[in-house]
C-alpha cells in the first residue's frame, strides 16, 4: 500500500467521523481496518474489532443503533480510494433484526447495485408474492426484506449525508446543533465527486451541454471516449 493510499484512507475515515459527529450526538470515531493486499474497511469497531454500533437517541434516551461500513479498494495507481461496497443498517435496541438496510455493491450482478431492504411485514404483499411463487418464480413471500428497492445505481445513489438526514428528519433522532451545515457540506462534496465521475462516463453529452451554455469545447485528438455502459445500463 502506498503512502498516498494510507493517507487517503485515514482522511476518509476522519472525514466520516467529523461529519457524523457534527450531526448525531455521542458518535464514536471511525477507523480503517486494513489487510494486505490492500483491502480496507472503514467503520466503527468494538473492542473485539467487530463492526460496532453507533447510538441513536430520542430526548437523550438511547433507543436505537445504526451501523455504517465502507469497503474500499484502490485504483490502479494505488493512490486513490474507490468505495466498492457500503452498508447502512438501522436497528432498534429491543430487537437484533434490522429495521431497514441500505446497501451499495459495485460488483452486484443480480440485485440493484444500490438498494434499500425493508425488514417489515405486509400481508397483502406476501399474498401477492405467493402467486409468483406458485407460478414457479424465485421469490420469497415470507420475507419482504428479500426485495431490493433500487435507488439510482452507482452514480446517483444516496450519500452518507442522505442517510444522516433520514435519521434526523424522518426518524426524529436527536441531533447536534448546526447539523444541517455539516450535512450540506458533506452532500456538496459527495455530489461534486459523483458529477465529475458522470462527466467522465458521458463526455459527448457533457460537451454538448457545455456548448449549449456557451463554452468552447474541443474533443481530445484521440477521440471521445465511449459512454460508460456500466453507468447507462446497470440498475
Amino acid at each position: 500500500m502506498t503512502h498516498g493510499a494510507l493517507s487517503a484512507a485515514k482522511e476518509f475515515a476522519a472525514e466520516l467521523t467529523a461529519t457524523i459527529q457534527a450531526v448525531l450526538p455521542h458518535s464514536p470515531e471511525f477507523q480503517a481496518m486494513l489487510v494486505a493486499p490492500p483491502h480496507l474497511l472503514i467503520s466503527v469497531f468494538d473492542v473485539e474489532q467487530n463492526v460496532g454500533r453507533l447510538p441513536l437517541y430520542i430526548r437523550g434516551k438511547h433507543v436505537a443503533d445504526w451501523k455504517l461500513t465502507m469497503s474500499v479498494n484502490f485504483d490502479s495507481s494505488g493512490d486513490y480510494l474507490k468505495v466498492m461496497r457500503s452498508g447502512f443498517t438501522l436497528l432498534a435496541r429491543a430487537d437484533k433484526l434490522p429495521l431497514v438496510r441500505y446497501e451499495f455493491d459495485d460488483n452486484m450482478r443480480t440485485a440493484p447495485i444500490a438498494h434499500w431492504q425493508f425488514h417489515a411485514e405486509r400481508g397483502a404483499f406476501s399474498h401477492l408474492l405467493g402467486f409468483a411463487l406458485a407460478a414457479g418464480k424465485p421469490v420469497k413471500p415470507h420475507s419482504l426484506s428479500s426485495l431490493h428497492f433500487p435507488v439510482g445505481g452507482a452514480r446517483m445513489r444516496p450519500g452518507v449525508d442522505d442517510l444522516l438526514e433520514f435519521l434526523v428528519k424522518e426518524c426524529a433522532f436527536d441531533s447536534v446543533g448546526g447539523w444541517k451545515g455539516a450535512i450540506h457540506e458533506s452532500r456538496a462534496r459527495y455530489r461534486a465527486i459523483q458529477a465529475r465521475t458522470i462527466a467522465r462516463d458521458m463526455q459527448a453529452e457533457v460537451a454538448d451541454v457545455l456548448r449549449g451554455e456557451g463554452w468552447t469545447v474541443t474533443p481530445p485528438a484521440d477521440g471521445v471516449a465511449e459512454p460508460g455502459q456500466k453507468f447507462l445500463s446497470r440498475w
Partner: protein, 64 residues
C-alpha cells in the same frame, strides 16, 4: 487522522471461525440461511462482520 487497524488474513479467518462456531454453523450453512432469508436475530447480529471479513479476504460470496 483516523487510526488504522492492521490485521492479517489468518486473524480474519480465525475471527470468522469464532463467530460461526458461536452460532453452531458452517460458513456454507450460514450463507444458505441468508440466501433463503432465514437468518435469526443472532445470525443477523454478525452479518456485517461476516460480510466485511469476506470483503477483506477478497472473497466473492458475500451475504445478500
Amino acid at each position: 487522522m483516523a487510526p488504522v487497524i492492521e490485521v492479517t488474513r489468518d486473524e480474519l479467518i480465525a475471527r470468522r471461525d469464532g463467530i460461526l462456531s458461536r452460532l453452531g454453523l458452517t460458513l456454507d450453512e450460514y450463507l444458505r440461511r441468508a440466501a433463503d432469508s432465514e437468518l435469526s436475530g443472532d445470525e443477523w447480529d454478525v452479518r456485517d462482520d461476516l460480510d466485511s471479513i469476506a470483503f477483506l479476504l477478497n472473497e466473492q460470496h458475500f451475504v445478500d
